[in-house]
Symmetry: C2
Subunit: 208 residues, 2 copies
DNA sequence: CTTGACTGAGTGACCGTTCATTCAGACGAG
DNA sequence: CTCGTCTGAATGAACGGTCACTCAGTCAAG
C-alpha cells in the first residue's frame, strides 16, 4: 500500500512505519470533531485510521493522550508560527494583526481541527486546566508582551492592564472561531481578523 | 409550595412537591461543575440532592435533559434580567455597560453555575449547536440591537458590522469568565466588565 | 383500602484496554 | 539464491468495570 517514507521521524525510534501515528492523529481529529470526544469510540478512530483497535495503543497510552497530542501539536505549531511571523515586524500593531490573522487562518483552514480546539478541548475543567497551563498561557503571554511593547512605544494607552487586554483580544478571536464552527453558513473566517483588530486597536490606541 | 411555576414544561406532570426538581437541578450543577458532565454519575446527583436514583427520572427524562434544563433556566433568567434592567436606560452605551455588568455579576455570583456554562456546556458540538440556537442567539441579538441603536444615534461607527461587533463583545466577556473559573487566584469577576467596556466603547465609538 | 410519590437493587449495554496469536520481512548460513 | 530462524508490529476477540436507566415493591396520606 504505502511506500515507506524516506524521512525518518526523530521522536519514536522504534516505530517502523510512523505514518501510523500520523494517521491515528488525523483520524482522531476527524472522529472527535464529528461525534465529540466523549462520544467517540477508540474503535472508530482505529477504523478511520485503517488500523486495528490494539494498534492505537502501540502509539498512544490512552484515549486521553490522543486528545492531548492533538492539542499539543496544534498549540505548538501556532505559537511557533506566530513568533516566526512577527519577528520581522517592528510595529506592535502590525504584530497583533499578524497574530490575529494567523489565528483565524489556521483554524479556518481545518474545520475538524477547529472543532476539536474550540469545542472538544473545552469540555471539562480537567482538560481546560491542564491545557490552559500547557500552551494557552504561553499564547496569551505572547499577546501580552506585544501589547506591553506597544505601551512602551506610546502607541497603546499605558494605563490599561495588558493581561486583561490580551484576554479581550483572545476572547474576541476565540468567539469568531466558535461562531464560525457552529454557523450553518459557509463564510471565510480569516477576514474577520481585520474587523476585530480594527475595533480592538481603536479601543486601546492612545493617539487620537 | 403550592404555586405552580409559570414557565415549566413539566416532563412529569405528577410531581407533587416540585422542591425536588429544584434540589436535583442544584445538585446537578454542583456535581457537573466538580467532575464534568461526562464524568458525573446520575447516582452522584441523586445522592447530593438527597433523593434516590430513580427519583431523578420522575423529574427528568435523562441525564442530558438535566443539563439542558440548567442551561435553559440560566439563559432565560439572564436575558430577562438584561431586558428588564436596560429598558429604563436611554444611552446605548449605558445599556451595553449594564448588560456586561450583569453578565459577569451573574456568573461571578455562582461559580458552579459558571463552570457549567463556561465549560461543561461547550463540550460537544451537539450541545453547542442546540444550545446556541436555543438561547445564545437571542442574547447575541439583544447586544446587536443595542449596538444598532447606538449606530442610528450616531454614537457608534455606522460602517461596523453589528453582528460581528456583538460577537466581539460577547467573546471578550466570555473569555473573562472562563479565565476567572480556571484561575487559581481569587479575584472579583464583575469589575472586569468596566475594563472591557472601556476598551470596547473606545473601539466602536464614532465621536472623538 | 387506594393512590401515587418515592425507593434502590438489579440489569444490560457499552467501551477502553489488554494480550495471545499471527505473519511479513530481516538476516545469516550454506 | 534458498532455506530456516527470529523479531516485533499488528491484530481483534475477549475481558472487566462502569453506569444510565428500570421496575417491583414500600410507605404515608387520605
Amino acid at each position: 500500500m504505502r511506500s515507506a517514507r524516506s524521512v525518518n521521524q526523530p521522536s519514536s525510534p522504534r516505530a517502523s512505519v510512523p505514518d501510523k501515528r500520523e494517521a491515528i492523529l488525523r483520524a482522531a481529529t476527524k472522529v472527535f470533531a464529528e461525534s465529540g470526544y466523549f462520544n467517540s469510540k477508540v474503535a472508530d478512530v482505529a477504523r478511520v485510521a485503517g488500523v486495528a483497535d490494539g494498534t492505537v495503543y502501540l502509539y498512544f497510552k490512552s484515549k486521553e493522550e490522543i486528545l492531548r497530542s492533538i492539542f499539543e501539536r496544534g498549540v505548538g505549531e501556532a505559537i511557533a508560527a506566530a513568533r516566526a511571523e512577527t519577528a520581522a515586524l517592528d510595529d506592535p500593531r502590525e504584530k497583533l494583526r499578524r497574530i490575529a490573522r494567523l489565528h483565524l487562518e489556521r483554524l479556518g483552514a481545518d474545520r475538524d481541527l477547529a472543532v476539536v480546539f474550540q469545542v472538544e478541548l473545552r469540555g471539562s475543567t480537567k482538560f481546560m486546566e491542564e491545557f490552559s497551563a500547557a500552551g494557552l498561557a504561553e499564547y496569551l503571554r505572547l499577546i501580552r508582551e506585544t501589547l506591553e511593547e506597544g505601551q512602551r512605544a506610546g502607541l497603546f494607552r499605558a494605563e490599561l492592564n495588558a493581561k486583561v487586554v490580551a484576554k479581550i483580544l483572545f476572547g474576541a478571536l476565540d468567539e469568531m472561531a466558535t461562531n464560525w464552527i457552529l454557523s450553518p453558513r459557509a463564510y471565510k473566517l480569516a477576514p474577520l481578523a481585520d474587523q476585530v483588530l480594527d475595533i480592538f486597536l481603536n479601543g486601546v490606541s492612545s493617539n487620537k
